[in-house]
């Protein structure tokens, strides 16, 4: 980690982003825009996941990983908010790369989870062995599969919302957009597969300790 972003500052930054998420959710309610409120609210819940893991299961994630998750949900929520500087348009609507960035960032979180779980299983039992090259392929497979499921969730949420006459919470814009999402997901997964290993060993070691503590 760079000296500028010490673990202490990372923790502070997580708090700041969480306060901003509350702000976005409040603005969403005030504007009567359920899409903004729900996305910020769910993002806020996700950002408390590391704290929840620590409180209830004594499972510590490093502040850097908490910041990674919080940044991903914050940038997504920020993108749904109509901004005064943009004639009350959203960043998703006005900035062509916003969607790509959030997809790459959130799929890197997904790949990180997949890596930590797979490595813990690999260490836990001799019955599962995943050499590095296979792990690399597995991560790319996992991220793409998750991306496909995510697009299906987005699609069926909007189908159900249409049927019930409710508002759209997640937007699928077009065929090109969906395919590009998958492309940028892969980019996020690729970055984790290439560089993520060293950063995530702490998480998988902790998972491993849990598995072994369960006593089989």
């Amino acid at each position: 980690m760079s000296p500028l972003l010490t673990p202490r500052r990372q923790s502070i930054l997580v708090r700041v982003l969480q306060v901003l998420l509350v702000g976005i959710a409040v603005v969403g309610v005030y504007l009567g825009n359920p899409g903004v409120a729900v996305n910020a609210g769910i993002g806020l819940l996700a950002s408390f996941l590391p704290a929840l893991l620590r409180r209830n299961w004594g499972f510590t994630l490093s502040p850097g990983i908490a910041l990674w998750i919080t940044a991903a949900v914050f940038l997504h929520a920020l993108g749904t908010l109509p901004l005064p500087g943009l004639d009350l348009e959203t960043l998703y609507g006005t900035t062509w790369w916003w969607d790509h960035m959030t997809h790459a960032l959130s799929s890197s979180v997904v790949a990180g989870v997949a890596y930590a779980v797979a490595r813990a299983l690999d260490e836990y039992t001799d019955a599962i062995n995943m050499p590095p090259l296979f792990m690399f392929a597995y991560l790319l497979v996992f991220v793409m599969a998750f991306g496909v499921v995510w697009e299906l969730i987005e699609f069926y949420i909007s189908v159900v919302a249409d049927l019930l006459g409710g508002p759209t919470l997640l937007t699928q814009y077009s065929l090109d957009d969906t395919v590009l999402d998958l492309g940028y997901n892969t980019l996020g997964g690729l970055l984790v597969a290439l560089f993520g290993g060293a950063r995530l060993t702490g998480v998988s070691d902790e998972l491993l300790a849990r598995l072994e503590g369960r006593g089989t």
Partner: protein, 199 residues
């Protein structure tokens, strides 16, 4: 905790099985050539992959009777027989089942040729993931080809979502078949005295 997927669940040394498996392998190879000639790259790649994976155990063991169970090869070859019968949505579901079967053949071949090991339940999850990832990469590549070379691709996002849905159903069906097969095998021949792998 379960042990690794036992090789003998998949590799047979029986004559009847070998004859059926080789017949299906030959059909896959033939279909691969036909699809390549007709410039259908996706079908050609899938059929060729199936033929190569199905032939690998016999080649490695230098014994023509050492083959995959013929029903698994049949699952992999399913689109050859059924895609003409069920065009559209069901056809894609069948393709999903076939990709799942290819995934399982791949797991067996990886177990023979590398240090990769999986438990039965992990193999089922892996096969489902492979099916979903395959349809995602297919969409990405077909879209790229369409924008660069002008090859045909789907028109709308809805159409793509129906293809994804069909692939998901096919992957779940294929994974489900293997899950049932593994459970039966575990009940019949528990590896060591291990208990059934929990998912």
């Amino acid at each position: 905790m379960a042990t690794s997927l036992p090789e003998e669940w998949f590799l047979r040394n029986e004559r009847t099985n070998a004859v059926l498996a080789w017949a299906l392998t030959a059909l896959l190879a033939l279909a691969a050539v036909a699809a390549a000639v007709a410039v259908r790259p996706v079908e050609a790649t899938l059929a060729a992959t199936g033929a190569v994976l199905a032939a690998t155990p016999a080649v490695l063991a230098r014994s023509p009777t050492r083959t995959m169970p013929w029903p698994v090869v049949l699952l992999a070859a399913l689109p050859l027989f059924l895609e003409a019968v069920f065009p559209g949505f069901l056809g894609v579901v069948v393709s999903g089942v076939s990709v799942a079967a290819l995934g399982m053949l791949l797991v067996v071949v990886l177990g023979m040729t590398t240090t990769v090991r999986m438990t039965p339940w992990f193999a089922v999850v892996f096969v489902l993931l492979v099916t979903l990832a395959f349809v995602g990469w297919w969409a990405l590549l077909a879209w790229l080809f369409a924008s660069v070379l002008g090859t045909p691709f789907l028109e709308t996002n809805e159409e793509l979502m129906y293809v994804f849905t069909a692939a998901l159903l096919g992957g779940v069906a294929g994974g489900g078949v293997f899950w049932l097969y593994f459970r039966r095998q575990l009940r019949r021949t528990p590896p060591g005295s291990q208990e059934v792998g929990t998912a």
